[in-house]
Amino acid sequence: MFDNVWLIPLFPLIGFLINGLLGKKIKNETVIGSIGAFAVLCSFIVSVMTFLKLIGLPGEERVVNVKIFTWMTAGNFNADIAFLIDPLSCLMLLVVTGIGFLIHVYSIGYMHGEEGFYRFFAYLNLFVFSMLLLVMGNNLLLMFVGWEGVGLCSYLLIGYYFHKKSAGDAGKKAFVMNRVGDFGFLLGTFALFWWFGQNHNIWTIQFTELQQNAHLLPTGGVVTIITLCFFLGATGKSAQIPLYTWLPDAMEGPTPVSALIHAATMVTAGVYMIGRMSYLFIRSPETMMVIAVIGGCTALFAATIGTAQNDIKRVLAYSTVSQLGYMFLAMGVGAFTAGVFHLMTHAFFKACLFLGSGAVIHSMHGALHHVHSHDDAQDMRNMGGLRKHMPLTFLTFLVATIAIAGIPGFAGFFSKDEILWQAFANPLHGDLNMLLWGMGACAALLTAFYMFRLVFMTFFGKCRIKEGAEKHLHESPMVIVIPLIVLALLSIVGGYVGLPKLIGDLVGGIPNYLEHYLEPVFANANEYMKDHAHAGHHSHALEWGLMGLSVVIALVGIAVAAMLYLVKPDLPKKFTSAFPALHRAVYNKWYIDELYDFMIVNPCKAMGRFLWKGFDVLVIDGLVNGVAHVVMAFGGVVRYTQTGQIYNYAWTMAFGVVAIVGYYLFK
């Protein structure tokens, strides 16, 4: 029935091969771009068909494994190239291919005239392919293939402008940090495979089989170790503390890349993975707590940094890190549906934000180029008042900003509020709930603040661009604007699929479609949670109250931003001069990069250098050469017996003969 799902990843792969191998020959940008976009569109269509088929099935039959071929078999280890179609993966398929398609279309306009245009589209298609493998893989190993594949594409695309050293560095940093995470992923896979095999003789890494046997797992103990390993993988991919520093640097890549990879899809892979293995994670309260706390901390921490950045993309990058923190917070408190919900809405509005910022940068870049200025096109201090020049971009951007800030009616509100409520109400972590909720709420405040700071600095006020450049600012072409509009619309309506029960009941019993839809995926985990945690009772009034509170928080954030950046633009300066150390620390991202350099990178290099020059060359080779020198020295002494005088040799020979014959004679 789902026999044709292999088409979904196949199309981008074909697109990648065509553009990668022949792109240089094709030259025509429209053709290249169309091939790339069309490949993803095909995938999207197949995905929609698959989705429709899936929801046509009764709930309990909505998990389907489709095997393509056996990948490797060694002993009791077996891995297939096989796809898992279930509500979760199907949702992700739609998000990835849908947003992917929009961003491909956008890129045709955005990347116009760039050197290596074909390369960009080839990489982008390869990324979609890898991401689809990650999402659809029915076993840990295939997921890992996608997992590393998206990391590779991220590396390639961040380093797209490879002649810039910073781009190369950023790409490498992303890859290596992801690899640290992958290390955890691998260990988790090993440990899980081994534990099941050793104790229950179930040698498998397939998700459905693991789920069926999840009841064999103990609570805590080995599961904690396994899940922590997996979580390490998630922190790497999804840019959580302590492995988040690569994501802001990743903004070196072209903006569509930031939108697709570093906002909408790849970075959410960690969330997806936890969702995929919720039955595993739920069995370790310790891990769940770690996830929740780290998620909360990241949300808050990244938000603080976001308030002081001037680079438009960096603000968005820290915002992404912060929002990912939200998702992990949701996962950590056991609100898997809420996490996935936020993943989806975040994909809409953050993609919209990134693409909007891309449009701004594009326009700024063109204008600055006209006046031969080398000002930074991404620095918000050079912008301002852009809403007059780019009304459509502004409008879509504003919609997305409202969505992320959590104003009721927009997508972000529903998902974010759901997370905050779950953090507060979910019984899993007992007394920690208040703290988690507090962190989430603070982050929400900061989010509203810095996002509107961004909007105000960019689109409002006086235009601060270099003189003469202002008249060159213009709205982007339709190929760029249309994706923006689509995404903005999604940012508005996207939230209504997951209407909270409270509101749903109010407006006439509209159910929470998403929760219902995802039910089969998280059933195992939810059941377990029901059995092991005592659900507290909270009144509707409390829920309403908290909802109201979060709206107030968002409004306060907006108001502060308006105050500082619209009404009294000189206030921030006063503030920074009042607390220079604090500002410097925040501006420099709390010096985390420097700390990593100091604690890990430099010691590693020093160690390497020491081992090479000190151990390899000095000790080992010293020993080896030392032996040789001893032998040579000995030879140097012995060689004095070789006088080079023929008569010496002759005499020695004659004497030898005499001596030997004499010996036998007198013996």
Partner: protein, 100 residues
Amino acid sequence: MENLTNYLLVSAVLFSIGTIGVLTRKNAIVVFMCIELMLNAVNLTFVALSRHLGNLDGQVFVFFIMTVAAAEAAVGLALFISFFNNRESIDIDDANLMKW
């Protein structure tokens, strides 16, 4: 026919004289001649013993030794000439390239 021992004794004496010559003289050609002397001493032993045993194999061997000596003379003397061309000397002490 003389006593075999006498022949062997003469041969020994000649061999020893040749040895002394090889070991004490420096002129390469004289050394070479001394080697010939030693070879001849050995030849004498062969012939004497062959006669004693009544078997001609020893004498055939002498024949071969002579062949070798002839070849040796040809090559050896050519070497001396070549050496002399290079070093303006025939003193074996000057053939010391193999010295450490």
